[in-house]
Subunit: 115 residues, 2 copies
C-alpha cells in the first residue's frame, strides 16, 4: 500500500494552480513554446492554450508571454510572476509530499497489507 | 486564494481508501446500512455497494458485515479492521490538512491575490 495525493489552489472555488497545471507551465518554460509544452505533456495545443488562458483569467494576471515570428518562429516564456508561482508551488508541493509520507508512516504503514 | 487537496491510498496502483471512500464507510457505520450511507452521500445504492466491494477486493479483507432480515430489516456494520482503517485514515488526513495549510502560509499566501 502506498499513499498518493493531489494538491491545488482555488480562486473563488475554481482551480488555478495544481500539480498538473504547474507541470504545464514548467514545460512552457523548458520548451520555449505552448506547442512544445503540449507535446511534452501529450495533450493538444488547444487544451494547453485553454488551461493557460483559464488560469490567467481566474488569477487576473498574465502568466505566459507569446512572441510571433522572428528567426525561431513563435515562442512563449513565463512572466516573472508565473516563474515565482511555479517555484513557490513546487516548494509547497514538496512540503506536502513529505508530510503525506510522514503521516502515512505514523498512522497507516503498520496496518497495511504488504503490496 | 485557498489551498485544497485530495488524499488516497493505493494497493498495486489502484485506489483503496480515499477521503470520499472513508466518508462512505463512516456513513455505513452512522446509518447502519449501505442504503442509508448511499442516501447520506447522495449516490445510488449500487454505486455504494460496488465501491465497498472494490475496496474489499483490492485489500483482500472484509470491511462491511451485512445482516439480512430481523426486526429492523437488513443492516450493515463495519468490521473491526475497517473501523481501524477509518480512524487511522482520519488522523492521516487531518495531519496532511494541517501540513497543506502550513505550507500554503509559508510559500503561497503572501503572493496570492485577495479572494
Amino acid at each position: 500500500m502506498r499513499p498518493n495525493f493531489n494538491l491545488w489552489l482555488e480562486v473563488n472555488g475554481e482551480v488555478t494552480f495544481s500539480i498538473w497545471r504547474v507541470r504545464l507551465l514548467k514545460a512552457v518554460e523548458e520548451t520555449g513554446s505552448i506547442s512544445g509544452a503540449a507535446a511534452q505533456l501529450g495533450i493538444h495545443y488547444r487544451t494547453a492554450w485553454q488551461k493557460i488562458h483559464e488560469m490567467e483569467t481566474r488569477l487576473g494576471i498574465k502568466l505566459v508571454e507569446t512572441q510571433t515570428g522572428g528567426r525561431q518562429g513563435g515562442g512563449a516564456t513565463l512572466t516573472p510572476i508565473a516563474l515565482e508561482y511555479v517555484e513557490r508551488f513546487l516548494y509547497f508541493s514538496a512540503d506536502v509530499e513529505q508530510a503525506v509520507e510522514a503521516a502515512y508512516q505514523a498512522y497507516i504503514d503498520k496496518l497495511s497489507p504488504r503490496c
